[in-house]
Amino acid sequence: MGKQAKIMKSLDKISSNSILRSGLYLATIFFFVAIILIPTVLGIALKWNLLSTVFENPDLLSRAMNAVGASFAIAAFVSVIDLIAGVPTAWFIARGKSRWLNVLDTLCDLPFIIPTVALGYSLLLFWDSPLGVAGLFGGSLLSPGWLLIILLHFVFSFPVVVRVMVGALLDYKYVYEEAARTLGAHPVTADRTVTFPILKPSLVGSFVLAFARSLSETGATIVVAGTFETGVVFISNMNTPENQAIYGQGPLVFASLLLLLIAVIIFGVIQLFGTRLKIPIKHISRSFEKKASGKKVVRLRDGATLFTLFFLILLPALFVAVTALPAIQDGTLGNALSGSVDQTGKYNWGAYWQSLLVSYFVGFAATIVNVVAGLPMAILIARNRMGKQLSSVLDALVNIPIIVPSVALGVSLRLFWANFPFVPELLLIIMAHISITYPYFVKSLAAAIMRVDPEVENAARILGARPFGVFRTIILPMVKYSFFAGAIIMFTRSISETGATVAVISPTSSLLTVPVLLVQWIRPLLPSGTTTAVGVSSAVGLGCGFLILFSILILLVLRLMMRGKGRY
């Protein structure tokens, strides 16, 4: 017996002890509350006494309300669009046979891996500068504003839906759909009446994740917002030194709390009614659904899916890499590869490479910690291990780190961890990333575990498997794709995280993650004040390009490792 097998065996054995098991679940809850929940909300929650400054100022109040309202409108719209575009994409990837789908699948993760500021900048270049598609339309197709915000949010929340749904579809038992077909259902009818209802937990889960992500994203939204204010734009506008001097932190706290409260209520309602919601079986129109299932329509759908993926998502998101092309001639590439500082002194490539290492290290560390800490939480939620009420409450609370706007999150985390000055900065960054990425894994995995028939577990128990053994040998293999999907989302989210990381490190720190460094590089290029044109720099293009390239490689390698055990 190998060493690993021995460890597994002894873990199996230990897991039979019900006291230890309860202890594990309690520890999981403690970890969640102490490491994830409290640090993320404490900062803003403690300052509720500042709210009076907002209530005393009707103009400010209505401005904040409007901004928060816009946030919810955009989030709702974007998440619906995400499902409409993301589910067919996931379908295409999960059901196809070609090996190239692994590449397509990886490409779908990219918008999630690009630092949000770089993403916003990339979209500006694509839609609003002569370099991009806007060049065909006289230089500017879309100026900053709500439409560009929607496009941006679509780009970065789309991967969540695809990732969760590809995992769900691969774990899904296709035989249900076949059964429906033999009973007379056209493919579209079978999807509507059988596949979607069975996959509902994942659909709802990915909707919630996309919604929450759209609500809270700050870095990129500021870049493309122009004068339009959403909740997070309002918060960061209020976070400037001038406004801080006038209003203090009241508006920031008010908007954050409002976003948080409304979101928690909305998600609570989704939780309650979403799972009870029944999609009617009754025929919509048989001939319509037959037509919609036809080869032509399916091809059209696949075409539209791929078009959307490439032209609305991938191209705009990756467009920043195009600006790296001049780097070959202008010496930037040489600087980059030798790790030196360029003539202007603006771009320090030595620092760039270091930040890249820090980012990947932090990403892996946070992912591993959360896999270990998130697993029992997912089981706890999916299987009501400590009562149904507690599970529902935890399920709702788990979303919080995604909902809290990242600026507010950063402020909160900084406040919390400031109490522990002995914690090294690198650990601080990892802690912040653990808080932020935790929900993605737990959500994705819990939804998958809910789909596994509990009877299977009982069967294994009766056959003599210990609780951990049941999980290891029965449940995990059945949800492995969702498990993997959750881990990928965490990793990519960590690589791109900007706002909160900026907030937790000290302003003078030399320990930067790659997004934080890229923010410093990109800031000067953004339109501000009197300049409305977007600046271009081959160094920024190259910096983003390397990050994208290495991330693709890492993701591909991870997929190939999974492939030995099945698709991916």
Partner: protein, 370 residues
């Protein structure tokens, strides 16, 4: 009302590396209860799924009710498919599962309810309409799956090891229930199983498959009495295989020399040549057994090595002079049982035996299930 015609159908998987169905032709008659049997992995499920239209074929043609269905999607074939795992929709209760077909096909609500009730009563589960699949036993799930297929108006019922997941007793009861249902409703059924006893018990005709090919099609009686293939002789019922060479081919019988210099007369085998290496096949119950080593016509002497009482019959393992061991079964009530180590002489009627040319790859290889 439908008959099914399968013409030269092939299906491969894994870029042609796995030949699951190899140039199969088959006709299933209207209102017939037809079984496809063969060892696991021989391509039964694949053939059934091809007929259902769940997977596309590589080449060939399939006709249902004399209509070419190669390009017809499964939902238009008017079939019912009972999956090995039943595939009951977990998010619907029994009633919703069973009325799924009628609702999807937009039949009138009245008709849908009537059908749901009728089919559920047929399988005696109307009382469990509100139950969800995870609240049912295996046998119940199986019956719901059948009811669901019938309620959708299936004229052709395709059953993929429908009893495979059930315990022996329920399996024996349900197999007659399914056959009765099919016969009462005048349906055509294709039943896939690896259990030859099950197929023998309920089928009008059986096709025996191996390695993607159909070896023989016939009534249970046919297959048992006249196996055309060594594999069939072994797979349907039980057989003894003795190696030998042809000594002489006569009009009515063939003389075969077995190992150890034993010579016997067997069935007529005009296609065989003198000195050809052959396998002589004799069913366990085709032997008669006498005490003592006798010099009788068509006798082979041997010693009883093991006796097991099996109720109706007693089963003997006899080690022959040919240095081969054979199985002999004798009726328990009609004959006094013989003890172990008893010296015996086995005889058989020539026409109750079968002669096959010795297989190229050897006897073991030929009989192997994989």
């Amino acid at each position: 009302m439908p008959n099914v015609k399968v013409v030269n159908v092939s299906k491969t998987f894994g870029d042609g590396k796995i030949v699951a169905v190899d140039n199969v032709s088959l006709e299933i008659y209207d209102k017939e209860y037809f079984s496809l049997i063969g060892p696991s992995g021989c391509g039964k499920t694949t053939l059934l799924r091809l007929i259902a239209g769940l997977i596309p074929m590589d080449k060939g043609a399939i006709y249902i009710d004399n209509v070419l269905v190669n390009n017809m999607p499964p939902e238009e074939r008017e079939i019912g498919f009972v999956f090995q795992t039943y595939a009951l929709f977990p998010h619907m209760n029994v009633w919703e599962n069973v009325t799924y077909g009628p609702h999807i096909k937009a039949w009138e609500e009245k008709k849908a309810s009537a059908l749901g009730r009728e089919t559920l009563e047929m399988v005696k589960l109307y009382g469990r309409s509100e139950a969800f699949p995870n609240e049912l036993s295996g046998g119940m799930m199986q019956r719901v799956a059948v009811a669901r297929a019938l309620a959708a108006g299936a004229k052709l019922l395709l059953l993929d090891e429908p009893l495979g997941a059930l315990d022996a007793k329920i399996r024996n009861e349900l197999r007659y229930d399914i056959r009765r249902l099919v016969k009462d409703l005048g349906l055509t059924a294709i039943h896939v199983t690896h259990d030859q006893a099950e197929a023998m018990a309920i089928s009008d005709r059986i096709a025996v498959m191996r390695k993607g090919r159909i070896l023989q099609v016939g009534t249970p009686y046919d297959l048992y009495m006249n196996p055309q293939h060594l594999f069939v002789a072994n797979f349907i019922g039980e057989s003894n295989f003795l190696e030998g060479h042809i000594v002489d081919v006569q009009q009515d019988f063939t003389t075969v020399r077995l190992r150890g210099g034993v010579t016997v007369d067997a069935c007529n085998a005009k296609a065989r040549k003198k000195d050809e290496r052959v396998v002589l096949v004799i069913r366990p119950e085709a032997f008669t057994m006498q005490k003592g080593w006798k010099k009788t016509a068509n006798g082979i002497t041997g010693t009883i090595k093991r006796v097991s009482f099996e109720g109706t019959t007693t089963r003997y393992e006899v080690y022959l002079k040919t240095e081969e061991t054979v199985i002999v079964t004798r009726p328990s009530l009609a004959e006094q049982p013989l003890p172990v180590n008893e010296k015996v002489t086995l005889t058989f009627q020539p026409e109750k035996s079968h002669i096959f040319p010795y297989p190229l790859l050897g006897l073991m290889e030929e009989l192997k299930s994989e």
